[in-house]
Assembly symmetry: D2
Homo-oligomer: 337 residues x 4
């Protein structure tokens, strides 16, 4: 961490600040005297140093981080890929896992039928929303506890592990048999929820927030990991930009960047990123080519009558074709290595 002092700061004031930082944070300080400004370089483990607090000193012009503020999620301290195993399926080992299913669980027939179809098409995990974050209070809010039951029935029938979203720490008990708990984009910085998930021994699929940076996403992973639960899967699902043709802008660069900065697996959600069914295939191929460990794709047997997000769903027939193409492309790309 580098502290830039304001022009005109006296040597005495700079020295006092340096002493104080040494004592507070146990770091070493190197001072560089420039023609216009003096720099203090903090040496040692600075990931707990509060840059904001230092910025508040009168004599400080700016504070610049050199080290990343996350540690457990950081590849520097954990060079090998984290591989998460769920019911015999591996995420993060170089394979491409397909996670598919409807936006919302709506009925036993619906979730069961879709589960069988996506399984036949090559999906390894079943997704489905029981608790639904909806912008409007007047929109369908999910079947909630009943939806979880139906998901577990579909798992019992097909053997597919299930992925579903949690919206409040209050519901954790209901999620005890869920295989992967999803944290949605709108809750990525719901820190009270993250802390509770950090106490579990269960994989957490953490979606990047609509307006959150790559670093902030890793800090939210750090929340979960620092609590003891290191099974975090990162998910890029599009960020909010000025472009309105797509619902969000898929930040494809985030895939290789997350893989570089962190050892955690990375999956991509092309359905929510685009909000347009015909974009799912090209975005899935792009994600696979960029190194994603998995894809989350919405599939609904009857999109116009879906109770949420129908506009972005594939039908099972469409998914058949697209999954085949994606898996073939993955195989073709792997054969080049």
């Amino acid at each position: 961490m580098i502290i830039v002092l304001k022009p005109g700061t006296t040597t005495k004031a700079a020295g006092e600040l340096a002493e104080q930082l040494k004592e507070t944070y146990g770091v070493q300080i190197h001072t560089s005297q420039g023609t216009q400004s003096t720099l203090l370089g903090l040496i040692g483990d600075t990931h707990k140093v509060d840059a904001e607090a230092i910025s508040a000193y009168d004599i400080v012009e700016s504070v610049k981080r050199v080290q990343e503020p996350y540690k457990k999620a950081n590849r520097k301290f954990h060079p090998e890929n984290t591989v998460i195993e769920v019911c015999g399926r591996k995420i993060g080992d170089g394979s491409l896992q397909l996670i598919a299913g409807p936006c919302s669980v709506e009925s036993r027939d619906q979730i069961g039928g879709i589960a069988r179809r996506v399984q036949a098409a090559g999906a390894g995990f079943l997704r489905g929303g029981a608790f639904k974050p909806r912008t409007s209070p007047y929109a369908f809010q999910g079947l909630r506890a009943e939806g979880l039951e139906l998901l577990l029935e579909a798992k019992a029938e097909t053997g597919m592990p299930i992925v579903t979203e949690i919206m409040s720490a209050d519901h954790i008990d209901l999620f005890r048999d869920v295989d992967i708990i999803q944290v949605g984009a709108r809750n990525m910085q719901n820190f009270e929820l993250l802390k509770e998930l950090g106490k579990l021994d269960k994989p957490i699929l953490l979606k990047r927030g609509l307006a959150n940076t790559i670093e902030e996403t890793l800090m939210s992973a750090e929340y979960i990991m620092s609590g003891g639960n290191e099974k975090v899967i990162l998910c890029e699902r599009g960020i909010r930009t000025f472009e309105t043709y797509t619902r969000n802008t898929l930040d494809i660069s985030a895939v290789p960047v997350f893989k570089k900065l962190s050892h955690l697996p990375v999956v991509v959600d092309p359905s929510h990123a685009a909000g347009i069914p015909w974009l799912i295939e090209p975005l899935s191929l792009a994600a696979a080519a960029a190194g994603a460990d998995g894809l989350i794709i919405e599939v609904h047997n009857d999109p116009p009558h879906a109770l949420s997000d129908g506009a972005q769903c594939l039908t099972p027939d469409q998914f058949d074709k697209i999954a085949a193409r994606i898996l073939a492309a993955k195989k073709a790309l792997d054969s080049l290595d």
Copy 2:
């Protein structure tokens, strides 16, 4: 609501969709046949119509809303300003309320001392964080329940009503004596929390999310209001943009736009928007001139040793001068009406 059908849609298919919409939503349909596309106009109360579901029909090219999707927060259905009264102070009646205090409550002396200073300077409300949303799990997380106690002691001493942030519905019981409960930007779409707050009879200060539109903010207000609690105060606190000089970009236009679209009071938080103490005065003056009903300003007796967000705090001495200038400016502007 207008539904644009794809070119080549048959009259029969268009008619079937129209019938179905009539039945499902109880609306009337007007059909316009263009040279390139057919339009269906939905007539009636469309705020519960699910535009996403309609978009999923094969024959639908796009869906465009005409009416706003919120009703209780909508000025069209509630033309007079909502005025919220707390301990004899009014928010929304044309006056400018100053809400001031430290980012975090740190000790009895700190909060008590600051309370007396900001009260003397003209603030009507005391703010202070007990539960703190921090990007890093290694940063100070607030005194939590103890912080609430200290705030209530400061209220008992000074008579100032208190404003403090809630981070989980689990904590609602702890907030029973809080005067105004704040929902932070990161929880603006924590819908489970909003629903619980909708059951209270207590003012909620709802901060706009970093990447949320004006309409989404009003939809979150609608969540609270549709639950029965109509005492919502909107807060503009800066949005996330590409500009990095300021921490966020204060969207000053949101003040008059919120006032036009909604009857709810609107306050501005220049401290979080800018993240820079010397910007608080010009941004506060701008907010007052644009019609804000209040300002939330961070004040700390010792910014460099603040346990959170010290970099953006004013000292009590600075606040004295700035509050005086803001209140004088408000008076001068009011005298022109």
Copy 3:
């Protein structure tokens, strides 16, 4: 185009506006009377209708476009892909063209040496900047006319057609032997320049602006095409967002969206999008998988001593490996069709 009238508009006023629109634009009008608002649907060719002017009427609440405002660039009116042929190389025919070379032309040896290396590695086009748009007036501004001479010499030697950026209509005469003229992101809405390029019979590579939508990019293509020059190549090169890890955010969705909305070829510039050399390979693979017709990649023999943008350049050795991987991946993906 749909015009939403304000609540309370009289039938008479609506009728007068309808009459006026019919006369001015030669369109038909369908009127839908809703419970809260009246809609006017414009039927006919509306791409020349000025939505802004209509919005200015007192009785108009909003105007919503149904048809795209571009015609020559629109796939609806030109269903087949445009294929642009340059010196026997085709862009837009389903193949993947590599366009490679240094950010700036610096000397005869430099550009000649790089040209031979990238040609050997599989590039079909040589790029190099002679006129350089630099944020700082103190940065190297390019060799200008001399740079063009050196590029043409490299073309004479290697037979590679050249791609280079124009910054002012004043320089068009200097570009008469250039094979593809590039319009940079900062000039995408330099309409005086676009108009002049519309008078040429030469391919124009049009880069999307940093903050321009997909539609605006197509409107800038329309400027060139409406002047008579239909040889436009679109280029996605990253947009400006709040994310700061990458220089810009590559909008990978723009590739399939441009291909859907328009018949023009689409190339991707991963070097400028990312600003980081190790991201060029994954982003290139993603672009190829998403359907791009070409890639523009910066290669410099000595990145640290490059006179501009060295930080994002590959060395020729790095390009050898990456080009081989990209071309093999393209072949593998093509074999799946």
Copy 4:
């Protein structure tokens, strides 16, 4: 400027780089050896040091600027406000100049009539577009040279100095009698144009680009100033964000930030920022309160028939009232100092 070297860089390699930087840029180097990384601090005048080139070295992890990259526009080197005088009117002296007129000049009667009205209402400058940057090639492109003639006639009649936009360096001769030449947002980084304007002795009103940072805007001012023309007026006119209710998002913070970083005058264009007439008054009041030196406001005698941007125009009657309120508010605020 601080250079962070990659972990594991040898002392020898660091020393060689340091030597090279000393020679190339004439700076001094301070080296700080951390536990994880080594820092090089560049001391001296670094505004011409090319951070990109340094980033390209294999051993360099990142480069962080400490000094601003602009010099002539920098308040540190020119502490007093620049005051620009035009026909006896001063911009930058603490007063608030109103610049008003139609988006486009359309006819002698139109521009003359509006000029007389806005002058009577308190405007000191007449604005009007002769060369118009329009997104669509099918939209009205301005009267061009004839428009400039009509503006000069209106000036001759009323004595009001005129402000009008240039779109190409080719047209500079036509602008010889224009009082203030405007550079539009889309041309803010048309560097060839900026260089030519730097050779004139005439005020330039430089609009911030839609996606340009405050620093980039100052760098564009630096282009003009480094050419010899120091009469630059900065203009905040809204930036592009995800919010769609307003056409752009007025970055009100840019006003005090520009004034802090630079000595140049700052004006605000609420008409283009908002795109909504009823927002002009609150945004103008906010701009005045935040310290703007002037306002540019669009006024048209017949907005629905305006040939461009009618939707955001005020009528002369509306301008009368708003100008009176703004000038009264400015007076009231000034009386507090």
